[in-house]
Amino acid sequence: MPEQVIFGMEVFLNGLMAGVLYALVALGFVLIYKASGIFNYAQGVMALFSAMTLVGMMNGQVPFSHLINAVFGTDIHHFGWHLPALIGILLTMAIMVLLAWLVQKIIFKHLVNQEPIILFMATIGLAYFMEGFGDLMWGGEIKKLDVGIPQGINLWIDEATYNIFDYGFFIDNLDIFATIVAAILVLALVAFSQYTKQGRAMRAVADDHQAALSVGVSLNFIWVMVWSLAGFVALVAGIMWGTKSGVQFSLSLIALKALPVLMLGGFTSIPGAIVGGLIIGVGEKMFEFLVGPLIGGATENWFAYVLALLFLVFRPQGLFGEKIIERV
């Protein structure tokens, strides 16, 4: 087999893995969008914030230490303990739930019945606020996140492919782990929304706010729950990306990458988020591999958006989205 094809296969596989990570972020968007019609731009920043909180708590960092030091002239940094990963994750989850409650209480309660675009802009504001808040709380430097996920080249795949093609594929253990986690997460979310009482209530709210209200579903509770769920998905995504490339500002930019994923898959569909993520992941890696060298490289920055843009012109609701019907 020619080398180019084998390389191409490796790139394809890596693209699939990257796509899973995009899909993970996109999932959080879909959850909130379905239940409340809010397009949550802050999802990426939520991932960043949760990863930062996790790192900070595991290292026993004092929150706002820079600010406290600047105001009172003290010099405190750490409590001096190290939490195990599991407890850190649980505590972070608690904070994300608190955050969800606050967001609902302070912001979106007052914006009910506003136009979607106003809500969207409010989430941009929220994203900025949380970015500053997270940095202020835990410091703006790049942090290392290690919760014990296996990393590095997967030797088994390397060996197996070496025996077949004479060339070992480089697949990161972390990516495989992320794929498994994403699969479990999706199954869990689908099961939750199909078979539990709260999940059904969530779908009812997504379908029709007023009808749901009239049969006794508490909108407030559902929205807080949905934001918490999105916070949980953000935490998972934050852990994966944080382990992969360090907890840093660029983490919040993956939210932007999730947007074309959503447009491709359709805003309202969980399978759409997964398929869209895979298409974007594979597409941009393959494009970079095949066409990138001809036109100067680094096409990953824009390929996803342009693909989504072209796609939307032909199918405005995305692959799996509900058909947009306009009534006057």
Partner: protein, 358 residues
């Protein structure tokens, strides 16, 4: 007492239709123009021009442009940074290719080129709406920045990949390059801003502006009463990109002088201008000015307060600035979705009745 329609008799249609129907407003407007053109240039120094006036003037142009698209026509765009980059690179290519032509012509041409690019990226708006469109404009943002980074022709094959503004003159006075005096750069931007402001104001209250607003309020209904969505949307994209292109050209040529595209015209620039019009007021020319002034002044104030005043580290102040800006956006959307302009409008309504409200 002074702020009254009473006693200000309009005897012609022209007077009746003027921009500032109230005498006090009119005088205030002339007063601002006189101060801006005849007093400030004699008084400012380099610090004031570079820290406050130039960014304010240039961002105001960009904000007016974006406000036409978002506030008047209802098409949300996140590609402002990319379009500003088009303006900057267009003016750079023109400046280096035709060194003898006046810089003013170059700036206007750069705006025209940006308008063409804007129309191109506005085409999908005929099919897709709302935040689907917002995401589609992100494609413009990333693609344009990438192309200016990767195609050497745009930066004249310079080794660093940067573009540097050479010295160009306007009526014999240098306004770009290292030798430009601060008053000259200030006046140059002010002239352009004034013209842009007047043009935008009159466009938005004329028939084309009404078409934009009809599309914004409900595009299907607008179509039924005879507004052509194709021409209305694309003209909004064109006019908006024209202004944004001009502001990009000034931002590069007059203000920064040297630009690295990813840094100067990244996605953050898009958000900054969007925030300006949200805080200032969607669908208001005055709001564009107010929002630009607010977001230019806020970081300067915070820096002076925290870094110079309290001796904090600059990065702490930056983080706090992020929080405050984000918080303000939310606050404005919750409390006053029409921004500073609406507060101003309310104040004027109150003033009209003052001191006898009933």
């Amino acid at each position: 007492m002074l702020y009254r329609e009473a006693g200000d008799f309009k005897t012609t249609y022209k007077e009746d239709n003027q921009t500032f129907p109230i005498k006090f407003d009119r005088y205030r407007y002339y007063f601002v123009l006189i101060v801006a053109f005849l007093i400030i240039p004699f008084w400012i120094n380099d610090y004031w021009v570079n820290a406050i006036f130039l960014p304010f003037l240039i961002y105001s142009i960009a904000a007016i442009g974006l406000n036409i698209l978002v506030g008047y026509c209802g098409q949300v765009s996140l590609g402002t940074g990319g379009f500003m980059a088009v303006g900057a690179y267009a003016v750079y290519k023109l400046m280096t290719a035709f060194p003898d032509v006046s810089i003013m012509i170059h700036v206007v041409l750069a705006g025209a080129i940006t308008a063409c690019v804007g129309v191109l990226f506005g085409l999908p708006s005929l099919r897709i709406k709302g935040f689907y469109l917002a995401v589609a404009t992100l494609a413009a943002q990333f693609f344009l920045v990438w192309i200016f980074n990767r195609v050497p022709w745009f930066y004249n094959y310079s080794a660093s990949g940067q573009i540097n503004a050479p010295e160009r003159t306007f009526f014999g006075v240098p306004v770009t390059g290292a030798n430009a005096d601060s008053w000259a750069t200030y006046l140059f931007c002010l002239i352009i801003l004034t013209v842009c402001g007047i043009v935008a104001r009159n466009l938005t209250r004329g028939s084309i502006g009404r078409k934009w607003m009809a599309i914004r309020d409900m595009d299907i209904a607008a179509e039924i009463i005879g507004v052509n969505p194709l021409s209305a949307k694309l003209s909004a994209f064109a006019v908006s990109s024209f202004f944004i292109g001009i502001s990009g050209a000034l931002f590069f040529g007059v203000y920064l002088g040297a630009v690295e595209v990813g840094e100067a015209f990244g996605i953050n620039k898009s958000f900054l201008v969007l925030f300006m019009i949200i805080i200032g007021g969607l669908g208001s020319i005055f709001g564009s000015f107010a929002g630009a002034a607010f977001l230019v002044l806020l970081p300067v104030l915070l820096k002076n307060l925290f870094v110079a005043g309290l001796g904090w580290q600059p990065d702490l102040a930056t983080h706090l600035e992020f929080m405050i800006v984000g918080g303000l956006i939310i606050l404005f959307l919750v409390v006053e979705p029409h921004g500073i302009a609406q507060l101003w409008r309310l104040a004027k309504e109150k003033l009209r009745l003052w001191p006898f409200p009933y």
